[in-house]
Structure formats: structure tokens, C-alpha cells
Subunit: 688 residues, 2 copies
């Protein structure tokens, strides 16, 4: 080893020796790179194993923007693509531009997700898959990915004309390395090569897997299209559009349909134009299909780069090493996506929309302020994954009503009962970590009751910060409700079995929304017992009330919250009756979907619903109590979030500060009319 600061002292002889040594390594590397799957599976062009550091890997410069295209449709693929993106972001060191070809469902999900994720140095563009359908729908296709599987073929024309290079990925791949190493392989393309692909790691295209198996034509084992390097510029020049259509049409004269979607057509084109393809090292697409030969690749390789779950069985594929690969997948499935919001040092990039203002607002907070945690939580932008599970939007019906609520993991047990009580659409916001979101998924799959309900939309809001952002959650659920009316409920309430039908009838009869600006009040009760037989009618409910098996809601601790509902009048009422707002009133109401939003400044516990009712009253919504409606609160242990703060002495002070600020805003919007609410805001708050 040379001492520091004296490199020039090195003798010319030593330099020469080193050069020769390097030359040998380089040459050796070249030799190895010529090998294919059968001979030397780990190696291939640009496989920088320790034994062939050889050609200096021309990795992209530090801040070069890398382009990635993914076709994604539907709820389940959207979840998959997020796991793929998480793995990519974990290892990446370059700015990325994602080009997402999506259907309406995936676009709705992913647009919101990336908007709220705010990852620095990630730009996302969307392309409408519906518009591209006609270009591939003429191809008969038997692959499970359907029409969307074929869309990779039209990327050269669908992506912007100025885009020259792109990495195309299937949604079922997982990165175990930095994508810039993959991008670097573009430099290995000859002047005419335009498509970089890894050889297939199954014998499918050899046509000998079973009797009468007649695959599409391919070079040898063919190539797998789960990971593609595309020189879009060269493909456009070479007339790719014509090229693949001609080949596909010709093959379809003798072959009935594609079995493997785009992959069949890519392979058929390559067989005809072998000069187009640059084979990539196998580690960039380790294929875990049913008949995989991938072990030849990964057992020799020192490094796995990309894992491809290309069996229809996905993670359930039978493979003796599947546990090993599954661990990579689970790593990113459960990885806290918030941790990927890290900037790239030394790569100045346009911050995501809103990020700069957010940073400024956060920077202006005073860490010594006793309410610092409140202020920080209010400013937190939570990642939101709407319609996390498959969801069927309700058919348009003029008086339909969606139950809106929010919950965290400790209330999942309520969902089955809620589904039995409310047969209509629901929009639920769930406050979860990434790992909890997966537990939630398994919970739903394990429940026949829940799995059968396509009209319940679950929106995952990812946890961040110490305080429960109750009103932000309510607003997410409310914004995603698709019916003209919403029932603003809480997760620990079970509505009367008849409530859904009764509300729709009442909305129609009362002309809610159209003729009448009103909020329909659903009277609230509570039971203190776990085991409890739910009343099937108002008569039964009143009987239970009379024997003390039920109480009006929070009768013992905070009757003010529901006193204006006037339970005595409700007992006798035959028709809806109007009640007046009073301090601390927080009934459960049915309103048109375009009602005022909840005030997101109320985080943690206290005043979150009260403020909303104040706003409704200030906007002159009538409050109409429905005579046959009721909902019952079930007992539960205090949530962790509540117990953490209940005892805090600063908690009440901070809540009072929030209330003061709320009233200032109220005065700004409603002028002197807001004076009405001032005494209410100065009263002591309920004991939690």
C-alpha cells in the first residue's frame, strides 16, 4: 500500500504491471460475459462480479434522471406496484421519473398515493390505458394479465417522443439492488440493439414441457419481459409499430392466441430480428415461476438484483428457496414508506408539490412550544392509499347513503358486526402502519362476511406522528364517499338493522339536500355490557332503556353532548322534529356529501365532532331528529392513543388553544354570527 500523499512516487514498472493485471481481468470478464444460462448462469454482459470488475461499469452520473415505465390496472396491481416502488426507492440513488400506464382505478389510487407520499426526486406521469386498449385488443390473449399485459408493446408510441431510454417493469418484480446499475447496462448496447432482456429461466419456449405444447417462436429459451431496457428512440426509428404488428399478425395465422401476452410477441419479433436484443445478466430478472431453472442463476451469483414473481401463484409458488426470496418481498411489503421520503444529497431537484411550503411551515414551529406535537401533527401530510382492496362503486341512486367512519387496528373486530348492521355502502379510513395494512388485508381475506362485501371501501392512511389525526381521517373517508348522502358515524357504533333503508326513505321524503338544507340526527345510545342482544325495533330499544340495559349515549359522563337531541321527545315522536344547536352538541348526522369538512386542526381527542356541528349550524343546516333512527355504542377498552394523553396536563391547554384558533377562523368566515359560539368555546371540555 502506498503511503498517503505520495502516489506520483510509484514506479513505472509497477504501473505497467497493474495495467496488465487489469487488462487480464477485463479480458477474463469479457470471456465470461459471453456465456449463456447453460454454461455460466451468473455471468453475462455487465455482470460486475468481484472476479470481473473489468470494464469500469459506466454507472449513470450521480444526478442523472432514470425513467421507468410500468403498466398497472386495478386495485390489486396497485398494491403490488407500491411494493415494487418501495424496493426501488430503498436502493436508488438517482432521481426517478415513473411513467405509469393505468386504468381509472389504478390512476385514482396511485395519483393520490404519490401526491401524499411526497418523495423527493420522484416524478410521476400517468398515461391512460383505456386509450391504448384499441391498439392491442385485436390480439387474442390467454395470459392472466389480460389486455394490460400486452400494453408494453405500444410504449414506444405512448411515451413522450423525446424519451429515448426507459426501463420497463412488471408489477410483480422486487428490487434487491440499485436500479442505476440496471440503467448502466444501456451503455453495453451496440449501435443497433434496442431491447435489453434476460433469458427465460424456464423451458417454456423450447416447447418440450408437455405433449402438444406449441409455444410462440423464440430464440432458444426466449427472453422474459418482466424487466426490459428499451431504447425507445431506436425502436421508433426501426419502425417498431409496424414490426411487431406484422409479426403478431403472421403468427396468429397459425397460433390461436398469445399465452404469455407481450412476451410471446417480443420473442417472435426477436427471433426475426435477433440484432435488436441485448441479453442482460440473469440476476436482473430471477424468475420464480413454477418450472423455473433460476437456481442455476442465483446459486452461482454473488448478488441478486431483481426478483420476478412470474408465477400466477406469486408468493405461493413452490420453490425450495421461496422462503429466501419471500423475505425480500416481505421486507418491502411491510416497509414504512414514510422512511423513503429522504432527499438525495447533492442532487438538487424540484421538491414535490406542496413540499416546500410544508417544510417552511414545519421550520417555523417552535420546538419549545408545549403544543408543538399538536402543531406538527396538524401539518403532517399522511400517505393515503384509497380503495386499498377491490371495491365496486355503488350504482348511482339519488337517495343512497354511505356510512363514513375511521378506525385503527384495535377496532378491526367491529367490522363484521358493522357489516351485518349496515347493508349499504361504506367508506372507512384506516390509520395503519405499512405492516398493519398487511395484517388488515389478511384479516379481511379470512372473514367470509368481509370478503363478500364489495361495497365497503377501505382507505389506508399511513401512521405518522404521536397524535391520532381523527378529523383528517374522517375527511379522507368523506371525500371518498360516492353516494349523494353520507351518514357520519364512529366505528364503535352499531346502527339499527333498519337504519340504511330508513335513512334512504327519510332522505327522499324530506327532500334532503335539494329542497332542504338539513342534517338528519340519528339518536345515539350506549350499552355498558359486552354481551347484549341488539334491539330490533324502537319498541325493543325503549324497553331496554327502561330496564337500564341501555342508556342514552354518555349519559353518565357527558350528557351535554347529546342533550339537544331531546330523548324524551324522541320516545314519543312519530315524525322528524327540529332541534336547536347548543354548546357541546355532537350528534351523529346524515348530510349531503358536499357538507363542510371536519376541521383537521383537531388531532388527538376532544372537540373534533363538536367543531363540525358548530360549522354545520353556522352554515345554517337545520338539525332534524329522525323518530325511528337509532345507533348504539358498544363498550371498548380505551384506545392506546387516548390513554397516552388523557393524563397529560398540557393536553387540555393545547386543546383550548386549538379551540381559540378555531373560533378566530369561524369569526373570519361568519362574522358576527360566530359570536353565538363564543361561550361554548370557553366552556370546559368533556372528560374525554
Amino acid at each position: 500500500m502506498l503511503p498517503r500523499g505520495r502516489p506520483r512516487a510509484m514506479g513505472a514498472a509497477a504501473l505497467l504491471l497493474l495495467l496488465l493485471l487489469l487488462g487480464f481481468l477485463l479480458f477474463d470478464g469479457r470471456l465470461r460475459r459471453a456465456a449463456a444460462l447453460d454454461e455460466d448462469p451468473g455471468a453475462g454482459p455487465g455482470d460486475h462480479n468481484r472476479s470481473d470488475c473489468g470494464p469500469p461499469p459506466p454507472r449513470p452520473s450521480k444526478c442523472e434522471l432514470l425513467h421507468v415505465a410500468i403498466v398497472c390496472a386495478g386495485h390489486n396491481s396497485s398494491r403490488d406496484v407500491i411494493t415494487l416502488v418501495k424496493s426501488m426507492l430503498f436502493y436508488r440513488k438517482n432521481p426517478l421519473h415513473l411513467h405509469l400506464v393505468t386504468d381509472a382505478v389504478a390512476r385514482n389510487i396511485l395519483e393520490m398515493l404519490f401526491h401524499t407520499w411526497m418523495v423527493p426526486a420522484v416524478h410521476v406521469s400517468f398515461y391512460n390505458a383505456e386509450e391504448l386498449k384499441s391498439q392491442v385488443s385485436w390480439i387474442p390473449n390467454k395470459h392472466y394479465s389480460g389486455l394490460y399485459g400486452l400494453m408494453k408493446l405500444v410504449l414506444p408510441s405512448a411515451l413522450p417522443a423525446e424519451l429515448a431510454h426507459v426501463i420497463v417493469l412488471d408489477t410483480d418484480v422486487t428490487f434487491a439492488s440499485d436500479i442505476s446499475e440496471l440503467w448502466a447496462l444501456f451503455a453495453h448496447f451496440s449501435d443497433t440493439q434496442a431491447i435489453g432482456l434476460v433469458e427465460n429461466q424456464s423451458d417454456w419456449y423450447l416447447g418440450n414441457l408437455w405433449k402438444n405444447h406449441r409455444p410462440w417462436p423464440a430464440l432458444g429459451r426466449g427472453f422474459n419481459t418482466g424487466v426490459i431496457l428499451l431504447r425507445l428512440d431506436r425502436l421508433r426509428q426501426a419502425g417498431w409499430e409496424q414490426m411487431w404488428r406484422l409479426t403478431a399478425r403472421r403468427e396468429l395465422l397459425t397460433l390461436p392466441a398469445t399465452s404469455l401476452a407481450d412476451q410471446d410477441i417480443f420473442n417472435a419479433v426477436i427471433k426475426e430480428h435477433p440484432g435488436l436484443v441485448q441479453p442482460l445478466p440473469c440476476v436482473w430478472n430471477v424468475q420464480l415461476s413454477d418450472h423455473t431453472l433460476a437456481e442455476r442463476c442465483y446459486s452461482a451469483a454473488s448478488d441478486l438484483k431483481v426478483i420476478h414473481w412470474n408465477s400466477p401463484k406469486k408468493l405461493q409458488v413452490k420453490n425450495k428457496h421461496v422462503e429466501f426470496f419471500r423475505n425480500f418481498y416481505l421486507t418491502f411489503l411491510e416497509y414504512d414508506g414514510n422512511l423513503l421520503r429522504r432527499e438525495l444529497f447533492g442532487c438538487p431537484s424540484q421538491p414535490p408539490p406542496g413540499a416546500e411550503q410544508l417544510q417552511q411551515a414545519l421550520a417555523q414551529l417552535d420546538e419549545e412550544d408545549p403544543c408543538f406535537e399538536f402543531r406538527q401533527q396538524q401539518l403532517t401530510v399522511h400517505r393515503v392509499h384509497v380503495t386499498f382492496l377491490p371495491h365496486e362503486p355503488p350504482p348511482p341512486r339519488p337517495h343512497d347513503v354511505t356510512l363514513v367512519a375511521q378506525l385503527s387496528m384495535d377496532r378491526l373486530q367491529m367490522l363484521e358486526a358493522l357489516c351485518r348492521h349496515w347493508p349499504g355502502p361504506m367508506s372507512l379510513a384506516l390509520y395503519l402502519t405499512d405492516a398493519e395494512a398487511q395484517q388488515f388485508l389478511r384479516f379481511i381475506e379470512a372473514s367470509p362476511v368481509l370478503a363478500a362485501r364489495q361495497d365497503v371501501a377501505y382507505h389506508v392512511v399511513y401512521r405518522e406522528g404521536p397524535l391520532y389525526p381523527v378529523n383528517q381521517l374522517r375527511n379522507v373517508a368523506l371525500a371518498q364517499a360516492l353516494t349523494p348522502y353520507v351518514f357520519l358515524s364512529d366505528i364503535d357504533f352499531l346502527p339499527a338493522y333498519s337504519l340504511y333503508d330508513y335513512l334512504r326513505a327519510s332522505i327522499e321524503q324530506l327532500g334532503l339536500g335539494s329542497q332542504r338544507k338539513a342534517a338528519l340526527v340519528v339518536p345515539a345510545f350506549e350499552t355498558l355490557h359486552y354481551r347484549f342482544s341488539f334491539p330490533h325495533s324502537k319498541v325493543e330499544l325503549l324497553a331496554l332503556l327502561d330496564v337500564g340495559a341501555l342508556y342514552t349515549f354518555r349519559y353518565h359522563e357527558w350528557p351535554r353532548g347529546h342533550a339537544p337531541t331531546d330523548y324524551a321527545r324522541w320516545r314519543e315522536a312519530q315524525a322528524p322534529y327540529r332541534v336547536q344547536w347548543a354548546a357541546d352538541y355532537e350528534p351523529y348526522v346524515v348530510v349531503p356529501r358536499d357538507c363542510p369538512r371536519y376541521d383537521p386542526r383537531f388531532v388527538g381527542f376532544g372537540w373534533n365532532k363538536v367543531a363540525h356541528i358548530v360549522e354545520l349550524d353556522a352554515q345554517e343546516y337545520e338539525l332534524l331528529v329522525l323518530p325511528e333512527a337509532f345507533t348504539i355504542h358498544l363498550p371498548h377498552a380505551p384506545s392506546l392513543d387516548i390513554s397516552r394523553f388523557r393524563s397529560s396536563p398540557t393536553y387540555r391547554d393545547c386543546l383550548q388553544a386549538l379551540k381559540d384558533e378555531f373560533h378566530q377562523d369561524l369569526s373570519r368566515h361568519h362574522g358576527a354570527a360566530a359570536l353565538k359560539y363564543l361561550p361554548a368555546l370557553q366552556q370546559p371540555q368533556s372528560p374525554a
Copy 2:
């Protein structure tokens, strides 16, 4: 790019050109590597940036064993070291041998952890820090790490004589890369260099940080000892033992104490023997101390390798980029350690103890068996982290009793009340994910009641598999109880305020364990109300029972479970009375610590306590009901684990199969005496 298979066709001229180009890059790399922090912070010897692929990094061969030494003492450092190890394991591709110098606390924790973690290709050796103390205790030291901070100095003699190379790490470092890249830097050592270190990224040793600041001597900024490459062989040869002692003694003549522990002495030795040190690239020890200049390093580097939280404030250090670094740390803090149980392909290694039998047993399971999940769960070896938080063992007292229970996240709210009711020692097993363990930590820290209790030992058992391993959890908590007696309770029970004192008195009076082989029964009651005023005496309890505010436990659903306690007799009893075992009896009992273990085959819910009482009875424990003892069950929502399986039709069948197997084992151990329990095993199980 050359087409495949034709490397030999390359002309000699092109080869020469390439060689020259490589030579230039190499030379350029050497130049850059000569730079120090001030000039070019990112570079340094062996810093393989894209711009200096230069000398082929001689990374260790695929299966070379890498040695790592860490000094670790106490509960908190043990948690830190696990996060460090997780980060190391995530990126590593080589077998590792960890050499852990520990105090008794850390050894107890880490030995159990690694034993149950069963990570392939990780070998762990322990060295007794107590035995090394005398070698460093003469050095006055002001650093927060105390005596343990100095122990790195004695590693050359403490580690095995045949060990030549070792990487030494502080517990507060996090890896962001493969440790083999660090190991590779040993190859850069000259023939006489023995210590690889990164330069200090603060001006501490320049002595100009504040007035009258007189640091120990160092070369320039000195070196940081958070990450050290040690050539142990050379240090031993060079007489390291004498060398550092001489230097330290001499400096201590004029300096009062070390401020930075071992680091002061390493630097003083290096100042005297500069030929010993090989400077390492700064990215291998990015120091986030209070006055750090690390930005000069990381903003220029393309890659971070190791982050060092070397401020006493740790993650709370003030640094404008701390969020970025914290994300790396949090990644591994919350990472599911089970996912690191992945083997190294192509590196045959001795499987961890027990792993082979486990693999065989798992391989013999039939996936089609409807009880497959039960059988798999029974075989699962859970990672166990005993005494997760600081814990003071109870002083030895002959009649002391530890409350033993288990819980998961959804019962954390019980802990404060439990602490108020039970002033004695507790041993609690918590079934958590890695991320939940961190939430648990924050929960305890936020609670003055819990944070004040040093006599409550929390043992984290990491989640794996779909069924709650209730009896495995109980056994972990039971095995860690340190008093002669244990009260086997459940987390949703609150004992009478006087129970702890009363039990100790009863144990003494009855001569439990010594004269009498008995289990003391604590009668169980329940309330169905959340808000409930806990009785302060038996008289108060009986009054509540009479007005229906309390019931005997599971009075409505399953009176058989506690009927043998004979509540009518208990009302009147003045002295302990003996009761007979009967089918389905599952009382809460106090027994000597060496009592039979719970049967771990009962996973999920049902029969887990009943089987334990059967075993006690079979082993001829008397059942003695205590007349003044009581414990009360509080209501709670059904846990997620219970609701998932309650409705499953196969669940009961599997439970019956477990019961049958339990009885077979019982017969094997107790012969004809086990016949007594046969009818009980064939009875229907309680409805929950």
C-alpha cells in the same frame, strides 16, 4: 459493445486503448485517495466511487468468514446492538462470527436472542467483560460509556490468539452497505499497518472548540474509534499491550482523565506510532456528533456506508440532515428480524443449533392437514428478547412471589392499573413485532407509573405465524421469574390491592414448596362494566357480588372453569381449604417457580390453562383456596386473534386432536393415573 461469443475478435489496438484508459482512472483514483477531510472528503483509500473503479476491490471471497467484535453492557446497549446487527445482516453476503464482550445482563439477553433467532451463517462467541475490567479500571475516564468504553483496548489479548483480523464496532453504528466491502479494506494495509480508522469529523482534537479545552494528543483531527479494522496478529507482535499502557500512563501524568475513553488512548498511541494506522474512507464512519463536519463527507460521497450516532443525544442530535440518517436507523430498528433468517446461497455452513431438527420436523408436516397451521405454530421458534427494558432483579427473599402473565399490543393499557394493584415483581411476556416493540418502548417511557417500576421485567417474544402461542409466552415469562414463587395470572385480571402481601404471608404460613407441595388458588371474579370501583376488601367484594355489580368469573358462559373453587364455601372461609380437581378446572394459582411448564402444543385459544392444572393435579399438587385472596377480570373487546378463529369450524376439531395427543403424553408419563383425566378430555370445550 461486442456481440456475444466474439471477444477474441477484439483488436490489439482497442485493448491497448482500454488499458490506458483504465490506467488513467486508476491513477486518478490514487490521487484522490490521498486527500484528507479538508480537501476531498468523499474519497480515501479504497473508496470505490464510480470515478475510481481503479484497483479491483479485493472483496473477500464469497464464503469467507468475517469477524466482528462489539463491547456491549446493560439493557439499553443490548437493544442498540441488535439494531446494529440487523443492519449488518440485511446487507451482508458472508458468514459472520460475532465476538461479543458483555456484562452478565447483556450476555443473558443476547445469548437467548441469538439462540432463538437462529440466523444461518452467524456464529456468536461471548467474552466476560467483568474479567477484563481490571485491565482498564485504573484509567480515569469521563466518557458516558464508562469502563466498557475502554475495553476495545484489550481486544488483542481478550480475543482468541488465532484470530488475526477483526472489525470492531461501537453499538451506536448503523450499516448502510455490505460489511464485506469494509473487510476488503484490510487488503490496503501496508506490511506494518495494524489499525484502520476513519478520521474524526469534528475539531475536538484540534483543541480549539472552546477556551481551555485541552484534548489528548492526536494526529491532526485524530481518528474516531467507532469503526476499527484491527490486525490483531500485528498488534500482538508489536507489543500492543505494553504500547498503549505506556502511552496512557505517560499522558495521565499531565492529563486528568480520558474524555473519549479508548479513543483518546488510540489517538495518543497513533500520534507516537503513525505507521500503525491505515486511514479509511470517511463514508465508513459518518459521525453525527454535535459539532460534526460530516456533511463534507456525505454530501460529496455517492454512497453512505456506516452511520455513527456518536453524540450522547443519539437520534436527538441537532443536525440539519438528521431526518435522512434517522430513516436508516429506523429502518433497522423496526425491521422484522425474522426476515433475516435467510440462508447464504452457495456458502455451506453449520446450521444454528436445533435448526436442522426444526427444518426436518417442519418438512414432515402435511400442508393438506386441516390442522397444519396449529402444527406449524407449535414448532415455530420465536425470537426472544428477555428484559427488553432496564430491570432490577428483586432482592432474594424466601417467600417472594412474581406475577407472571403474557400480552400483546392490545392489552398495553392494562399495565398501569396492574402496577397499581401489584407492588411486587412481575415477569411479563409480550408478543410483538419489531415495530410494535418500539411502540411499547415509547409507551413505557411516556408513563411515569411504568417508567418508575424497575421490578417489572418485560420479555419480548417476536410474532411469527397466525396463532397466538399463549403457552410458549407463559413459559418464557415463567422461566424468567426470579423469586421462589410465582402467581400465574392473566393480563386482563386485576388482583386485590392486598394480594401481594397476603400471598407472601400465606406462602410462609403454609410452608408452600418446602413442607407442602401445593398450588394456592386465588378465586376469580369478573365485572362486565368498564367503570367500576375496585373493592378494597373481601367484605366490599361480597357486597358488590350481592348487588350484581360483580360475578364469579365466567358465571354466565362457563361456570365449570371455576366451580371447584367453591365460591359458597369461600364466602364463609376463614382458613385455606383444600379442593379437588374436576374436569375443566382452570383456577389462577400460586406455585413454586419450579412448577411444571405449560404445554406449548396449545396455541391459539382453548385448553391452555386447563391442561396445566391437569398436569399439576397429576403431579399431586394439593389445590388450596386462599380465603382472603381474589382477582377480578375486566371486560375487553375480543382480541383479533380470538375473533379470527372463533368462527372456524376446523378450529374445534384441531383442538380436540391436540387434547387427544396431550392425553397420550399424559398416559406415557403418569401411566394408569392419567385415566382419571380421560373423560374430561372428551368433553366439549368452553364456548371461547
